[in-house]
């Protein structure tokens, strides 16, 4: 009888030790070795088309801006702004008549405490721009309007090229300052 009790205790002790070891080992291994490789948890709903959002992109066309609707992923404001700029750089459906510089890419977006959104673009945006004063005006106005009309919390937009401020994109208008005043009016 005493021997049975003793055996039973050993079995319970073994099971406890084994269970604790497995649990502890799982947490330790998952924390130290797999944490960095784990995929970020994306709620399934985010990937559904229902969570995409239509945005209005303004493209230069002749002597005015034309609006086209594009679908982008609903995400944080900065991510959305980045997708909007990327859509803007793709150009309008009628790409042939566009003055959007070919090959230009978004390098990064950063929002300052002053509400200015800094849009860092690749050098192609400056280098491949082919246009007159009005085309340059509409290019900057289209970029500005596309961001401001879709992204909350942005007061102004400033273009930088390869992380640097430049004086002008096409030699007619300043890119040194945020765009709000630059694109404010034309008659």
């Amino acid at each position: 009888m005493k021997a049975d009790k003793k055996r039973l205790l050993w079995v319970i002790l073994f099971l406890l030790l084994f269970g604790s070891g497995i649990a502890g080992g799982y947490f330790f291994v998952s924390t130290k070795f797999f944490a960095s490789k784990a995929e970020p948890h994306i709620p399934q709903s985010v990937l559904q088309p229902d969570n995409d959002v239509f945005v209005r992109i303004f493209y230069p066309s002749d002597s005015a801006l034309v609006m086209e609707e594009r679908r982008v992923r609903r995400a944080t404001e900065i991510t959305m702004a980045e997708e909007i700029v990327a859509e803007f750089l793709k150009g309008p459906l009628n790409r042939a008549a566009s003055v959007i510089p070919s090959g230009a890419k978004v390098l990064g977006l950063y929002q300052g405490n002053d509400g200015i959104l800094y849009v860092d673009l690749s050098d192609e945006f400056r280098r491949n721009f082919q246009g007159d004063a009005l085309a340059e005006f509409l290019l900057l106005k289209g970029l500005y309007e596309s961001i401001i009309s879709n992204v909350k919390g942005v007061n102004d937009v400033k273009v930088i090229i390869e992380g640097k401020e430049i004086e002008s994109i096409g030699g007619h208008l300043f890119a040194l300052y945020p765009l709000k005043n630059t694109v404010a009016e034309a008659k």
């Binding site: 205790l9 002790l13 030790l17 947490f27 082919q130 009005l134 945020p178």
Partner: protein, 345 residues
């Protein structure tokens, strides 16, 4: 019975020990997950930060690049009279491609840059990759600028009616390209033709550039300011098949806290707005007479025109024209007539 009690005690001790291990593991996981969310984040290990330094015309740039965007965002940059203090949020493992050509030191988490001359800085925090860019500009007591080009006529004629002609673009800024046509070449050819024609009429003429060189908008404006012209004319090409004449719209619609206002770039043209419109009409009239085509008049807040303290226009010529000698002569004739007519008003 004694063995049984001892066994139970040992079993409890083992169980407590494993529960302790379990709690420690859960804690460690929680700490790792919490770190990237910010808010009291600390960097227990040294963050690898690369630093690059470069000298540019008018400013020096120092760039810190880190793998963690939050690390850059949490960095604070302050200045004193003779140094720039960069306070990083955690320990650094600073990597540099070579010795920096600048007086710096690193103490704990603080990076110091010492400057001999008065300076201003411009700080930019950027992502992709996360980096902190600091432009250091030395403040000059009196900003002295070199004239962009040499004068084209002797100084004794400076008392005459003075025209500054600005051929658009130049250097690596090609302007509009259409086949073999490059805007920077057409504009300088037209400017030279105009210069020759106006010199024959005993006018003082200055060109912002006479060769294929890049000039910034600011340099063109400064050149024009030095010459105090009676008329300023900037020559460009249009994407359209029309002649387009621009005058400044005076100032941006919203001047509230406009950074451009700080540089007084918009104020000079304001009082010449009417004269600029009159000049544009005169050019338009003679171009229309010569080419029998409609002229597009536009007002736009162009920084080049905004800063000119004189009647100023920017003319775009159709890119569809073949700019041979004959076409250039017709354009030049129309523009010179326009200037003469404006002068006689």
């Amino acid at each position: 019975m004694g063995n049984y009690t001892a066994m139970v005690i040992r079993m409890r001790a083992f169980t407590a020990f494993f529960i302790f291990l379990l709690v420690c593991a859960v804690d460690a996981r929680g700490a790792d997950v919490a770190q990237p969310k910010g808010g009291g984040v600390s960097w227990p290990t040294a963050t690898e930060v690369s630093v690059r330094f470069s000298r540019h015309e008018g400013f020096d740039r120092i760039v810190f690049e880190a793998p963690d965007e939050l690390f850059i965002k949490s960095t604070v940059v302050t200045t004193t009279q003779n140094q720039i203090k960069i306070q990083f949020p955690g320990n650094l493992d600073l990597k540099s491609p070579g010795p920096l050509d600048i007086d710096t030191s690193l103490k704990w988490r603080t990076y110091l840059i010492k400057e001999k001359d008065p300076f201003t800085i411009k700080v930019l925090k950027l992502s992709s990759p996360p980096r902190l860019s600091i432009d250091i500009m030395t403040v000059q007591k009196e900003e002295v600028r070199k004239p962009a080009v040499v004068e084209t006529i002797p100084s004794e004629m400076a008392a005459h009616f003075t025209v500054v002609i600005d051929p658009g673009h130049g250097g690596y800024d090609l302007g509009i390209i259409s086949g073999d046509l490059r805007e920077k070449d057409i504009s300088v050819s037209l400017a030279r033709d105009m210069e020759a024609a106006l010199l024959k009429k005993k006018r003082s003429v200055f060109l912002t550039r006479k060769s294929d060189q890049f000039l910034s908008i600011d340099e063109r404006d400064m050149f024009a300011l030095q010459k105090s012209p009676d008329v300023f004319l900037s020559l460009h090409l249009s994407l359209s098949d029309s002649f387009v004449i621009y005058t400044s719209s005076g100032e941006p619609a919203n001047t509230e806290s406009s950074p451009a206002e700080l540089y007084s770039l918009t104020s000079r043209q304001r009082k010449f707005a009417d004269k600029s419109r009159a000049l544009a009409e005169d050019f338009g009239k003679f171009i229309k007479d010569e080419f029998k085509t409609e002229i597009i008049m536009r007002e736009l807040s162009l920084p080049l025109l905004n800063a000119i303290g004189a009647p100023a226009v920017l003319i775009e010529f159709p890119r569809s024209i073949v700019y041979d000698k004959v076409a250039r002569a017709r354009i030049t004739d129309a523009l010179v007539k326009g200037i003469s007519f404006y002068e006689s008003r």
